[in-house]
C-alpha cells in the first residue's frame, strides 16, 4: 500500500531529511514516520511544517513498505534520497 511520509531539506546544509515519529528529522528514509494518505498525511505534514527552524520546504511523498524497508515510488525522490545518478561517489549513496 502506498503511504505518505514528509521530506524536506535541512536548513543549515540543505541535506535531504525525513520527518520521524518523534517529530525530529532523519537523513535515513527508514526512520520516516508514515501515514495513510488523506487527513492523517496532512496532519503529519502540518507537524513538519511547524518546524521552520530545522528545515526548508517540507512536503508529502509517496512511500511503500517493502521487506528491506521503505521504498520510494518516483524517480525524483529516488534521486533525492540517493544523490546524483551520474555521481555515485557523492551524496547519500556514497555516505557523504
Amino acid at each position: 500500500m502506498t503511504l505518505s511520509a514528509v521530506t524536506a531539506n535541512r536548513l543549515d546544509d540543505g541535506v535531504v531529511v525525513y520527518l520521524t515519529e518523534a517529530a525530529g528529522w532523519s537523513e535515513n528514509l527508514n526512520d520516516a514516520a508514515r501515514a495513510e494518505k488523506g487527513p492523517a498525511a496532512d496532519e503529519l505534514l502540518a507537524k513538519g511544517g511547524a518546524d521552520f527552524l530545522a528545515v526548508v520546504g517540507p512536503y508529502l511523498i509517496d512511500v511503500v513498505s517493502a521487506e528491506n524497508g521503505l521504498q520510494l515510488v518516483n524517480m525524483r525522490e529516488t534521486i533525492r534520497a540517493a544523490g546524483p545518478s551520474v555521481r555515485t561517489d557523492l551524496g547519500k549513496q556514497a555516505g557523504n
Binding site: 543549515d12 535531504v16 521552520f52 526548508v56 520546504g57 524517480m75 534521486i79 545518478s85 551520474v86
Partner: protein
C-alpha cells in the same frame, strides 16, 4: 580586464555583510523562510534536490587566473571539489551549506566576484561572445558595452522588480557566438553610416515554455545612445509587461501580444522623451571603461611558427586537437584555444578543482591571464601564441582537458536535469553521456561534421534544446522519463526554432533515435553539406520516416 573601483568594492562588501546578517537571522528564527527566500535568491543561493546551489556571476564570461584559482579553492573548501559552468557563462556550486555561504561570498569578494544578478526578476548578468577581444571578425570588444550595461543595471532602482527576469547578450560582430537572438535583448555590433560603432537591437527572444526568436527593434543605435535606448525598452517592458501570469511575463510575450511595431512605437516615444536627459554615458566615462579592455601587448609575429608546423606534422593527436579546438586570432601569430569540458561520457560543463587550477596556470603563463567561459559550457584561453600551442596542449593532456571535439556532436550543451535540478522532469546528463559514448570515435564525429546537440531536462530550456540542430527535451510521462526530439534549430545568425519530429522516446531508446537521425543525414547528404543545411533542404519527413517507419 575590468577592475573594481572603490564603489564596486564597497557595494560587494556591504552585500556580504548584509547577507551574513540575514543568514544569521534565518538560522536563529528571527525571519521565516518566506521572508528569507527572496534574500538568498538575490545572492544567488537556490535550493536544489540534494542541497543548496550557489550561482556565481561571471560577468560576460571573463575570469582571471587568480579568480579561477579562488573558484577552485572554494570548490575544495566548501563544496565537493568540483563546479559546473552554465549556459549563462556562470558557475554553480552544487553542495554549499547555508551556514557557509556568507564566508563563500566573502572569499569571492576578495577576488572581485559575487553572486549578484544571478537570480530574481532583475536584469541578469550580461553575457557576451566568449571570443571577445580576440576574434578576428569583431568590430570592438563587446565586453566594454557589457560592463557599461552591468554598471547601469546593477542596483538600478527602477528595474529591480521587473515582471520577470531579463537577459541581455551582446556580440561584437555579425557572427553570433553568444546566441543573442534567444535573449530578451540581443545586441549585434555594427558600424553606422559614418563608421561609428553601434548596435542592431533585437528584442523579445527567449526559450522556455514559449520559445521565440528576437525581432529587430532598431537596425542601428549608436553606442553613444545605447543606455538611453535600453532604458526606454526596459521602461516599456516594466510598464506593460504582464505581471498576472508568470508564464506570460517575459518581454517576448509583450512583443508577441502587441506586435513588434507597437512595442517599437512605445519604445521610440519613451526614448524621445528621455534621450537628451543624460541617461547616456559621457564619452570620457566610456573611454575609461574601454581602457580596462585594452588588448594585451602582443608580440609582432609574421607567418606560421616553423616548430608549430613540425609538431602538427609529427603528432596527429595534437593536429586533431588544433583542428577542432583552435581558431584564428585577430593578431597574427596568436590563436584562440577552446578547452572542451565535454569528455566522452563525462558531465558536460563540470570541472574538478585541480583542472581549474591547471587552467588558471595556463592562462597566467600563456593567455595574458585571461580565461573565458562560453555559453556552450566550455572554457577559452583567448590569447595563446601559436608557438605555445604544443606546450599548452601537453599541459591540457595532463589535466585531462585535451578533448578535441569543439562544435562536434559530443560537444553538447546539457542542463543539470533531474540529477540536480528541482524543476526537472527527466535526467539530461546521463542522456548526454550515452550519446557521447555512442559517438566517441573522433573519425565518426569529424565525418558527421558541425552538429549542435542540446539537451534540457524540462521546458525551462536551460539546455537551449529549441535551438539545437538536434534538440532533446526531457518530459515526464506518468513518472517515467521520456525525451522529445526536435530538429533543425539554430542559435546563430540564422537562428530558428527546431521542429518536433514526433512522439517521444524512452530513456533506453533516445540514443538510438539520435543515431538514426544522424545516420539519415550521413546517408543522404550532398557533398560538403552540414546537418543543418541538409535538414533545411530535405525537411522533416525523411527523418520521421527513418525514426518511425516500423510503427
Amino acid at each position: 580586464m575590468y577592475r573594481y573601483d572603490e564603489f564596486d568594492h564597497k557595494f560587494v562588501e556591504q552585500r556580504v555583510g548584509q547577507f551574513r546578517d540575514q543568514v544569521a537571522r534565518r538560522m536563529s528564527g528571527d525571519i521565516t523562510e518566506e521572508q528569507f527566500r527572496p534574500l538568498r535568491l538575490m545572492n544567488g543561493l537556490y535550493l536544489q534536490l540534494h542541497a543548496y546551489m550557489l550561482r556565481v556571476a561571471i560577468p560576460y564570461g571573463t575570469v582571471s587566473g587568480a579568480q579561477m584559482r579562488k573558484l577552485a579553492e572554494i570548490a575544495r573548501k566548501f563544496d565537493k571539489g568540483y563546479a559546473h559552468f552554465t549556459t549563462r557563462q556562470n558557475l554553480q556550486y552544487n553542495w554549499p551549506a547555508l551556514k557557509d555561504t556568507p564566508d563563500i561570498l566573502a572569499e569571492l569578494a576578495s577576488v572581485e566576484m559575487h553572486a549578484i544578478q544571478t537570480s530574481g526578476n532583475c536584469i541578469r548578468n550580461v553575457t557576451a561572445d566568449q571570443f571577445a577581444g580576440a576574434a578576428a571578425d569583431e568590430i570592438e570588444d563587446p565586453r566594454i558595452y557589457a560592463e557599461i550595461m552591468r554598471q547601469w543595471s546593477t542596483l538600478h532602482p527602477e528595474f529591480s522588480f521587473l515582471p520577470r527576469k531579463f537577459k541581455i547578450a551582446v556580440t561584437g560582430c555579425e557572427n553570433d557566438r553568444a546566441a543573442v537572438r534567444v535573449h530578451d535583448i540581443g545586441l549585434i555590433m555594427k558600424r553606422g553610416p559614418s563608421g561609428e560603432t553601434g548596435f542592431e537591437v533585437l528584442v523579445g527572444g527567449g526559450l522556455g515554455r514559449t520559445p521565440m526568436i528576437a525581432k529587430t527593434a532598431r537596425d542601428f543605435i549608436g553606442a553613444d545612445n545605447l543606455l538611453s535606448y535600453l532604458e526606454a525598452i526596459l521602461r516599456v517592458y516594466n510598464q506593460w509587461g504582464r505581471r498576472d501570469n508568470i508564464y506570460k511575463a517575459r518581454i517576448k510575450i509583450l512583443v508577441h501580444e502587441l506586435g513588434i511595431e507597437d512595442v517599437v512605437r512605445r519604445v521610440d516615444a519613451e526614448w524621445a522623451r528621455i534621450k537628451d536627459r543624460s541617461y547616456d554615458l559621457p564619452v570620457a566615462e566610456r573611454q575609461r571603461i574601454a581602457a580596462y579592455f585594452a588588448p594585451p601587448v602582443f608580440e609582432q609575429i609574421s607567418g606560421d611558427d616553423p616548430t608549430h608546423l613540425e609538431q602538427i606534422a609529427a603528432d596527429p593527436q595534437f593536429a586533431n586537437w588544433v583542428g577542432t579546438n583552435v581558431v584564428a586570432h585577430k593578431q597574427a601569430g596568436y590563436n584562440i584555444v577552446t578547452i572542451s569540458l565535454k569528455p566522452i561520457g563525462g558531465v558536460p560543463g563540470d570541472t574538478e578543482a585541480d583542472q581549474m587550477d591547471a587552467v588558471a596556470d595556463l592562462a597566467e603563463r600563456y593567455s595574458a591571464d585571461e580565461i573565458r567561459v562560453s555559453h556552450e559550457q566550455n572554457l577559452v584561453l583567448p590569447h595563446v601564441k601559436q608557438a605555445d600551442l604544443y606546450t599548452v596542449w601537453q599541459a591540457l593532456v595532463k589535466a585531462d582537458l585535451a578533448i578535441g571535439n569543439i562544435g562536434l556532436v559530443t560537444d553538447m550543451i546539457t542542463c543539470p536535469g533531474l540529477d540536480y535540478c528541482n524543476l526537472a522532469n527527466a535526467r539530461s546528463i546521463p542522456v548526454a553521456q550515452m550519446i557521447s559514448e555512442r559517438f566517441a570515435a573522433l573519425d565518426r564525429q569529424l565525418d558527421i561534421g558541425p552538429l549542435k546537440l542540446k539537451i534540457s531536462g524540462c521546458i525551462n530550456a536551460c539546455g537551449h534544446h529549441h535551438v539545437g540542430h538536434i534538440g532533446i527535451l526531457g518530459v515526464d510521462r506518468r513518472g517515467t522519463e521520456y525525451y522529445q526530439i526536435s530538429l533543425g534549430g539554430s542559435a546563430e545568425e540564422d537562428a530558428c526554432l527546431g521542429d518536433i519530429v514526433g512522439p517521444s522516446f524512452d530513456y533506453d531508446h533516445v540514443t538510438g533515435a539520435v543515431e538514426t537521425i544522424i545516420d539519415t543525414y550521413v546517408g543522404n547528404r550532398h557533398e560538403g553539406e552540414t546537418f543543418l543545411n541538409m535538414y533545411r533542404r530535405v525537411g522533416i519527413a525523411q527523418f520521421k520516416e527513418a525514426l518511425y517507419e516500423t510503427a
